[in-house]
């Protein structure tokens, strides 16, 4: 594909909201580019299997069909796609720098849609860094996209609907689940069913999943957390602790998949220094947006779950709204058409918000998970920083996340705090007896992902380099 240097609209992230926004913009003849670090569209929730996998004719997975349609629609609308491109920097204006196997490339646009979705929150516990412990979302990707069971024997832990989804797929693919460790009480599931009712499609699906799990007679430990994980000869030992009666039990298994909800990706918005707000139910820090997903910077729109967790179906409509906002802001449609088109979408989204709130309550992080973190437990995996070191810095006077980072090195590793920022903030807030919000968030830094130097420099002659003035004597 011959990519241009400049586009009317660039979308970062080819998940449901990004694809939806791109298609709506192109319907009005705007030149659109959609970028994704994966090989294909679909994002995480509809992540396509690797390109080398060939679909068999007899059976299909619903998610695969949805993803195939995304690709077809993008093609139909003549939208340029840049897959296998990892964005490493975004500058105001907007300039987007990305690297791929072929080197580094820069695109320009006046209208940027950030649809980069979420990361999984995993609250640390002793032994969470042991190989064989993976995220719940990682397990989902492994099953649905890579069509592979992580192991013969699996234990699942965490909270929220992802727990049921993963359990369902493990069973569907013939895996054995030794236990499901759920932080929620059995009663909370009833509450969530009511919010599921508002979205019939999800409701039927949810009930189907739950029935399959109940009939498979997997031991379900409600109101429980993983206290710790230790290495064993042929696998790992998972210690389950009941939050209420404090009783614990150990199970031996091969793989533990654990996840505690999702948190919006804010790499790009923090890098661009737009305003952010803290909303625990929506997943944590999110860019400040209006109801049409405009950020506090002109020409920058944040959509999908990255603008606040609401789920994949809502993501599609969010993408649409952001697209309409661009069309209106660029004077391609007038106010009358803008209001007419958006009023219905807004109504639909409001319905989803109620459903989303129900899910969010299941997604919230129980205090017990934070209390379970031992002082010797590693919080920052990249730099091996323990809770003890974080507390030490606070006792020496560090008062916000950036200062704690500066003094301990937490967040300075390759993941730039994506994995640990939430947990460190919760631990610090407890220690300082303040709200998580007061600690701020880590300043966004380039590159957004580790940037291979060989791709960065390309081929060059020495004479080409020294175009900068020599330093004074």
């Amino acid at each position: 594909m011959n990519l241009k240097k400049e586009y009317d609209v660039i979308v970062i992230g080819a998940g449901p909201s990004g694809v939806s926004a791109a298609i709506k913009c192109s319907e009005k003849s705007l030149k659109v580019l959609i970028i994704d670090s994966n090989e294909n569209s679909g994002g995480q929730i509809y992540r396509a299997p690797p390109k080398s996998y060939v679909k068999k004719k007899e059976k299909s997975l619903k998610e695969n069909l949805i993803q195939i349609k995304f690709s077809e629609d993008l093609k139909k609308n003549n939208i340029d796609t840049a897959y296998n491109h990892t964005v490493w920097q975004v500058s105001p204006g907007y300039k987007i720098d990305a690297f791929s196997d072929k080197g580094t490339i820069q695109w320009k646009t006046k209208n940027l849609i950030v649809a980069t979705g979420t990361y999984e929150k995993i609250i640390p516990f002793e032994g969470w860094t042991t190989p064989g412990v993976i995220g719940l979302a990682a397990c989902t990707v492994m099953l649905k996209s890579h069509q592979t069971l992580p192991g013969e024997k699996i234990v699942l832990a965490g909270n929220g609907p992802l727990l049921i989804l993963v359990a369902y797929y493990v069973l569907k693919f013939g895996g054995k689940i030794e236990a499901i460790i759920d932080t929620s009480k059995k009663s909370q599931w009833l509450k969530s069913i009511f919010s599921l009712i508002l979205s019939p499609q999800n409701f039927i699906q949810g009930i189907t999943w739950m029935l399959k799990i109940i009939f498979s007679r997997i031991p379900i430990y409600s109101n429980s957390i993983v206290a710790k994980v230790t290495n064993e000869k042929n696998g790992i030992s998972v210690e389950i602790k009941n939050i209420e009666n404090k009783k614990s039990k150990k199970i031996s298994t091969e793989v533990l998949a654990v996840g505690h909800g999702l948190t919006p990706s804010t790499d790009i918005t923090r890098l661009l220094r737009v305003d952010h707000v803290y909303n625990e139910l929506k997943g944590g820090w999110i860019a400040k947006i209006d109801k049409y997903f405009r950020s506090s910077a002109k020409g920058l729109y944040i959509t999908g779950d990255g603008s606040g967790i609401s789920g994949a179906v809502a993501a599609h409509d969010k993408g649409k709204l952001a697209a309409y906002a661009i069309l209106f802001d660029e004077n391609i449609i007038d106010e009358k058409e803008f209001k007419k088109e958006t009023v219905q979408v807004l109504r639909k989204l409001n319905r989803y918000e109620i459903f989303a709130k129900g899910i969010a309550n299941l997604n919230s992080t129980p205090k017990e998970l934070i209390n379970n973190i031992d002082e010797n437990t590693i919080l920052c995996r990249c730099e091996d920083i323990t809770k003890k070191e974080i507390i030490h810095a606070i006792k020496k006077g560090a008062k916000n996340l950036n200062q704690i980072k500066s003094w301990t090195r937490f967040g300075m590793g390759p993941c730039q705090g994506r994995t640990c920022q939430y947990s460190v903030a919760r631990v610090a807030a407890d220690e300082l007896n303040c709200e998580v919000e007061e600690l701020g968030y880590l300043t966004g830094r380039s590159p957004i992902r580790p940037f291979p130097l060989d791709k960065a420099i390309g081929d060059f002659d020495y004479d080409e380099i020294t175009k900068v003035e020599a330093a004074p004597l």
Binding site: T129, G135, A138, V141, T148, E152
Partner: protein, 96 residues
């Protein structure tokens, strides 16, 4: 038990890759992280200070825990797809 599910998709052709001087069989185009995980190579590297084993964690290109040396260069293995003859080094990548 075969952990690879074949109900819905046919994988690429069978190829051999080298992991720490041992041969691992995989299919062309599979995800390197996943292949290592199910082929008894869960330990991918050592943590910087405590030198403890680390491996695949988020499978989304975010956590960077699955870094290995591929033909001498550091890569995030969950973003890499198997090609015949790849040479992978896991374990102590001299990160300290």
């Amino acid at each position: 038990m075969n952990l690879r599910i074949s109900d819905y998709f046919e994988r690429g052709k069978k190829v051999k890759v080298i992991v720490n001087e041992t041969i691992v069989e995989a299919h062309e185009g599979e995800c390197l992280s996943v292949v290592l995980f199910i082929s008894n190579h869960k330990n991918l590297r050592l943590s910087p200070k405590k030198r403890e084993n680390r491996g695949m964690f988020c499978l989304m290109g975010s956590c960077q825990e699955c870094a290995v040396l591929l033909n001498g260069k550091k890569v995030t293995s969950c973003n890499i797809f198997i090609k015949a003859g790849m040479t992978v080094k896991t374990g102590d990548l001299n990160e300290s």
